[in-house]
């Protein structure tokens, strides 16, 4: 009888058991790897809206996934009940005064549920407890009180949201007329810029007047040069006369420096004009960075203001929360109209 038939029971037993062990090992390894067996601690929270929330969403603490959402439901008060679990390895982070924050962004990218543990040494809260969200007054109050270990915003989106938040506050203040806020400052700056622009424009006017004057002198000078050139060019005139022994050179040299003086004075005049021109050019170039800077500053201010307004109108958190500003005709326009 063949070996494997005589020991069929053993061979088959080994064959089946090895497969079973293999399958069980894979199951256990996959399970450990994917936390099938780990104990999860369940908690509840409440949000104003289910937007951005979904079941199975990871909950992170400083970038570590510490749990997942497990259920979402709309309760009788029309707020959203969120059930979530925290993995056992992170259970000790669930201190009293912990809060949940839904970091969403308008583009729908990179949002997520963040968990901020309470800043204390108390025991972790019992399973099933209520963890407030930043949507709720209780949650915000905890943050304001500093009871929450909420890190400096650790990503760009939060940065943006933060700056939007401060801009909103500034805008709020500015709208209320508080000039200490950044927007108030912006407006003040804008007013200052307008004043400066006026000053600059005045000096530009001045410069233009000077340039006109210079131009008139220039015209005269060039007329003189033209006349001289004309005379020089005249074949019957100056040159032949100059070359004529009877004529000009001799005359020129003999006429008691009359012609020489004339030429000399013309050259002096030209020199003067050139100096003046240099002065004007210096003045204009002195003024140029200032003008550029002013224009740049004005543009920046306007663009920041526009960003703020756009952010306000786009941000779902704030939409409708702030009354739209009525566009005011700026005084700057008025000044310019008068000038040009």
């Amino acid at each position: 009888m063949k070996f494997r038939i005589r020991y069929a029971d053993q061979v088959v037993g080994l064959f089946v058991i090895l497969a079973g062990v293999g399958a069980a090992a894979v199951l256990v390894l996959a399970g450990v790897n994917q936390r099938w067996f780990a104990r999860d601690y369940a908690f509840v929270s409440r949000f104003g809206s289910a937007n951005g929330l979904s079941v199975g969403m990871p909950i992170t603490l400083k970038g570590f996934e510490i749990g997942r959402t497990s259920s979402l439901s709309l309760n009788a008060d029309n707020s959203v009940e969120l059930g979530f679990v925290v993995f056992d390895t992170f259970y000790d982070k669930v201190k009293p005064h912990s809060v949940l924050e839904l970091a969403s962004n308008p583009l729908g990218l990179g949002g997520g549920l963040q968990f901020h543990p309470g800043r204390n040494d108390l025991q972790p809260v019992a399973e099933g407890a209520f963890i407030p969200s930043l949507d709720s007054a209780a949650g915000r109050e905890l943050v304001v009180r500093g009871a929450v270990d909420r890190p400096a915003q650790d990503n760009q989106i939060n940065d943006i949201l933060d700056s939007v938040g401060s801009l909103v506050a500034g805008l709020d203040a500015a709208v209320k007329g508080d000039p200490s806020g950044p927007l108030g400052r912006t407006f003040v700056e804008l007013a200052n810029v307008v004043g400066e622009v006026q000053v600059v424009l005045t000096s530009v006017d001045l410069a233009v007047a000077q340039i006109q004057e210079v131009a008139v002198n220039l015209t005269a000078a060039s007329d003189n040069i033209a006349a001289t050139t004309e005379e020089l060019r005249d074949p019957t005139g100056l040159v032949p006369r100059l070359l004529d022994p009877q004529g000009s050179i001799a005359t020129f040299l003999d006429d008691d420096n009359l012609l020489f003086d004339q030429v000399d004075s013309a050259l002096v005049e030209v020199n003067e004009i050139i100096d003046q021109l240099g002065e004007v050019a210096d003045f204009v170039s002195d003024q140029t960075p200032q003008i550029t800077g002013l224009i740049e500053e004005g543009r920046n201010t306007l663009s920041v203001g526009q960003d703020v307004l756009e952010g306000l109108s786009n941000n779902p958190l704030l939409r409708g929360g702030i009354t739209r500003e009525v566009a005011q005709p700026t005084t700057v326009q008025g000044f310019r109209d008068e000038d040009f």
């Binding site: 494997r4 038939i5 069929a8 029971d9 061979v11 088959v12 064959f15 089946v16 497969a19 079973g20 293999g22 399958a23 894979v26 199951l27 390894l29 996959a30 399970g31 790897n33 994917q34 099938w36």
Partner: protein
């Protein structure tokens, strides 16, 4: 003419429906007798053990070879192709999907159909021809519980066990191949594989292999018993056992995969 054609279609349909009912009845009989198999004095565990030995253990080598080479092929193709799309990590998911979820059960089923489905159909067919089946009935042994159930259990267990081996060897074999091409630590490899492996994959594979085992054994025994008198029927029935087994396995696979994605 048309009436005659209609009549023929009708008769054909009726015969088919009757056959279907008959086959269903056969399957239900098998199921009915399966739980009580341990209580039958003449059905020893040995029969089932031997069936697993012939169907499972002896097919182990070919299953291992096939799965090793398939795993190797997937890794080679995957490593060559996927990084071009920036999807190198996808190779693990593909390994799991192809080896564990799709090819493992169906290829094991094919191997078992080709090896044991034919053997069972031939054996039972010749038993019918030599009146051995009737002899069992004559002494009060139910051929379903005595002849079919051990094969049913043995083949089903074998397919499940071999599918497990197929998966393990397929994944392990592909690891060996990666070592040749682009060595990665075993730890990383298993870690990645295990993260890609879902519980639903394992459940679906397990379920599939059970269904395939049932299909193969029931079809083979049914076709074996469908032999009536002559030994010339045996090869015809064997062919039918294989082709029907394949077709039914494919259909079952499609249905289960569909259910998985629903």
């Amino acid at each position: 003419m048309a009436v005659a054609a209609l009549e023929r279609i009708g008769r054909d349909l009726r015969a088919r429906v009757r056959k279907l009912f008959y086959a269903t009845g056969f399957f239900l009989q098998v199921l009915r007798h399966t739980p009580g198999v341990a209580r039958q004095p003449h059905v020893s565990l040995k029969g089932i053990v031997l069936q697993i030995l012939f169907t499972g253990y002896e097919a182990f080598g070919i299953v291992a070879l096939v799965s090793l080479s398939i795993g190797a092929i997937i890794i080679i193709q995957g490593i060559a192709l996927l990084p071009r799309f920036g999807q190198g990590e996808l190779v693990y998911s593909i390994l799991i999907i192809v080896i564990v979820r799709e090819l493992g059960p169906i290829l094991t089923a094919f191997i078992i159909t080709a090896r044991s489905g034919t053997a069972i159909a031939t054996e039972l067919g010749s038993m019918v021809v030599s009146h051995e089946v009737e002899a069992y009935v004559a002494v009060g042994v139910n051929p379903i519980s005595y002849l079919v159930v051990p094969r049913f259990i043995g083949v089903t267990v074998s397919v499940v066990v071999l599918t497990i081996y197929f998966s393990i060897f397929g994944l392990f074999g592909s690891y060996l191949v990666t070592q040749l091409i682009e060595p990665i630590p075993l730890r990383d490899y298993t870690q990645n594989l295990l993260s890609a492996l879902q519980l639903v994959d394992i459940v679906s594979t397990f379920f599939k292999s059970i269904v395939f085992g049932i299909v193969i054994s029931v079809v083979a025994t049914f076709e074996g018993f469908a032999v009536e008198r002559s030994s010339t029927e045996i090869p015809q029935r064997v062919i039918r056992a294989v082709s029907r087994g394949f077709v039914l396995c494919f259909v079952a696979n499609a249905i289960i995969t569909l259910i998985y994605y629903l």
